[in-house]
Symmetry: C2
Subunit: 216 residues, 2 copies
Amino acid sequence: MHQQTIENYLKTIYHLSDGNSFVVTNKDLADRLHVIPATVTEAVKKLHQLKLVEYEKSYGTRLTSQGIKQALNIVRRHRIWETYLAQELGFGWDEVHELAEELEHIKSDKLVQKLAKKIGNPAYDPHGDPIPDEKGRFQKPEFKKLADAKVGRTYTLSGVADHSAAFLKFLDRYKMKIGTTIKVVEIENFDGSMLTVCNSKEVRLSLQVVSNLLVR
Amino acid sequence: MHQQTIENYLKTIYHLSDGNSFVVTNKDLADRLHVIPATVTEAVKKLHQLKLVEYEKSYGTRLTSQGIKQALNIVRRHRIWETYLAQELGFGWDEVHELAEELEHIKSDKLVQKLAKKIGNPAYDPHGDPIPDEKGRFQKPEFKKLADAKVGRTYTLSGVADHSAAFLKFLDRYKMKIGTTIKVVEIENFDGSMLTVCNSKEVRLSLQVVSNLLVR
DNA sequence: AAAATTATTTTGGTCTGCCAAAAATAATAA
DNA sequence: TTATTATTTTTGGCAGACCAAAATAATTTT
Ligand SMILES: [Mn+2]
Ligand SMILES: [Mn+2]
Ligand SMILES: [Mn+2]
Ligand SMILES: [Mn+2]
């Protein structure tokens, strides 16, 4: 099995199982990886032989501890690259994911280590996602959706649930980024939209938007 | 054909034809790419269909202008990465080639452009090889082998003919790098070795070594 | 000019990652 | 508890990148 294929499967299983080792379904994997379920069946069998996943047929797949370890390493690489590209080379947070998707497969721990050092071993990537350290450790931040926030309170934007370039560019237009404070002025309970104050301006944000903004 | 395969073939053809469009032999390609000649036969046929090479059977292969263009772009990427890794991330000149061999395939001109800018759009890579610009232009420096140098003269190390880590580390031990001046004190015509002065020290260099040192 | 050597191409396979369609299993709705 | 629907697995195939061995062609030696 090609290393790159393995890595993409492991990372995807990891994300679908929400970081923990919940069982992941073949169809979900197929959808995320843009292949058909039959392809996934074959792949997870091979991953099983490599002892990277536990696999019970017709039930699902979960990472073994070995699998988690590798998955975390790839996640680390991905997020280190994203952060590096943004901080060191001036890429926008809407551009870094696609590039990191390729760069994460470059096989050199030394390189990742140097990149990380250069940007000061950050704990979070440009989207607010935590970066595992060399040993895979990280504390997951306690976010909540802005959609679940209370009127009158002020929050700090700390993450995004939607990583699409479209959404991130939308946020750019409102100068919203990780760290921006958002005050909830009023919630329209007809459509769930929120009136907020953001960069000293009043902005109305749709339910779509506020449920993809993660705040603290 | 996989893009990466194409790129590796084009780059190798380019190097084997010494930058110009000399005809390259199947066997030479096979040796450099670590495949057997039969594989090359298949590959060059496909490259021909893609109009990237001219190919006359049982004669050889040469890059078309389209092929040269692409080859130069890959060479550019490779050398930009090498320089970036060395200058910006502190990798040794003996380490950068292997990494660049992977990184050169990341498909983003914007990335390469940013890397290049960060290191000041250099004209030469850490081994003294010229870096083509975005349009593929570069002037090839006029090197000569130290082996062909004259007694009593002083030269500047400007390139290396052998890019192996072993050779580069050897040079490191003598603190020789691009820019170091070398004075030829004496040539032993029994074995072709040279007595030189290098970093204010007398050093005897074997024929092997002096024929891989390119000087100006 | 033969003979011997070397290079190239052809032919028949393997392996990997994928898909389409059919068959087998769940899971859900009626 | 049947149907109906959704998911998973099996089966048979395809394309790409490769190789081994045999068949050709070119080059070099004698
Ligand atoms: Mn990403
Ligand atoms: Mn991210
Ligand atoms: Mn190199
Ligand atoms: Mn180089």
